[in-house]
């Protein structure tokens, strides 16, 4: 298992960003990471982009009444002074239409557009690594 270092840009920290590797010809991958908002206001993650995928959506997997479903989210709210984990079987990034085949050793660039206090739009870059497993 490869882990990626901790990165911090002022109020939003991102740790352990990874993509679950998948079989050849997969059109969608799931991505996971840990957000920490160290500021005193909520942060809204608005959009994500990557050099390796045509499109990235924020999704939530959940089970209600024994039925497993997936929901697309328009934004992800990270409350003030809180951590928010995207992890298997829950909140995750849906990475769609890879631009080329992704190999285990690849580092995938991820741009995170977020919005603090409803005014500032900040772009930050992180990288995701490919790995296996359920946690």
């Amino acid at each position: 298992m490869v882990s990626f270092g901790h990165k911090s840009y002022a109020e939003l920290e991102v740790d352990d960003a990874w993509i679950r590797s998948g079989p050849p010809n997969s059109k969608t991958f799931a991505g996971y990471l840990k957000f920490t908002n160290t500021s005193s206001t909520e942060i809204f993650i608005k959009e994500l982009k990557s050099n390796a995928f045509e499109k990235i959506e924020m999704h939530s997997s959940f089970a209600e009444g024994g039925i497993s479903s997936m929901k697309k989210l328009n934004a992800l709210e990270i409350p003030a002074h809180s951590a928010f984990n995207l992890e298997p079987g829950g909140y995750h990034l849906m990475l769609m239409k890879p631009k080329k085949e992704i190999k285990e050793t690849d580092l995938v660039e991820l741009m995170i557009y977020f919005d603090a206090q409803g005014i500032i739009k900040i772009l930050r870059r992180d990288a995701m690594v490919l790995r296996n497993g359920y946690e």
């Binding site: 679950r20 079989p23 499109k55 024994g66 997936m70 298997p88 849906m94 296996n132 359920y134």
Partner: protein, 208 residues
């Protein structure tokens, strides 16, 4: 003078009552013997036999009622375009199976993914997908009708959800455990921690 009608009825009632009591006391030991309980699901009061079904696995081999006989089998439903929950369940089950093979070598446990998406999930696609995550697992597909009747026999709900690009499925999340006779024995929820799922499989395999 013969017995009055009322007396005859009374004798029958007593006989019935005694038979009932006898049956009750006969079954008492098994009623009192508590079935083990599971952390992540439940054992059926009585194993449920399945209707006949006919599906096909990633090696183009028939998968039917007989395929469930002899070994314990875990079946769950999904589709290969599901990047989050399905691989998570596959990894969890693979880890559990590997430990059971080591700890309980006399018990054989098969794991099977049944796709709800026969359009995209051909045997070839299943081979590619399952082979990547867990070579020991079976991936099963079939005609719409056969998948539907197999799913409905297990009361599995599923619904195709169309999206801007492609489609997903909402579906029953349970995993289904079948005994060596091929009857449905227990159901569990795979969202639970691996340690709890593992405990439940040991409970089942050690007691039955």
């Amino acid at each position: 003078m013969g017995m009055s009608k009322r007396n005859i009825i009374f004798v029958f009632l007593v006989l019935f009552g005694m038979t009932g009591l006898f049956a009750y006391f006969q079954s008492l030991p098994s009623l009192l013997q508590k079935k083990p309980t599971l952390l992540t699901g439940k054992i059926l009061t009585r194993p449920m036999e399945l209707d006949n079904f006919e599906l096909i696995d990633q090696y183009n081999q028939t998968f039917n009622n007989e395929s469930l006989e002899g070994n314990w089998t875990i079946i769950f439903f999904g589709y290969t375009n599901c990047p989050d929950v399905c691989p998570t369940t596959i990894y969890k089950l693979a880890e559990i199976k590997n430990e059971i093979v080591k700890d309980l070598p006399s018990k054989n446990l098969d794991t099977v993914l049944v796709t709800l998406d026969p359009d995209r999930d051909t045997p070839e696609r299943l081979d590619e997908y399952i082979g990547y995550f867990d070579e020991g697992m079976l991936g099963v597909t079939g005609t719409y009708k056969n998948i539907q009747s197999f799913a409905s026999n297990l009361s599995v709900f599923y619904q195709r959800i169309n999206k801007d690009e492609g489609y997903d499925f909402n579906h029953t999340a349970s995993i289904f455990v079948f005994n060596q006779d091929g009857s449905l024995f227990a159901t569990m929820s795979p969202a639970n921690p691996v340690s709890e799922l593992k405990d439940d499989f040991y409970t089942i395999l050690n007691n039955f």
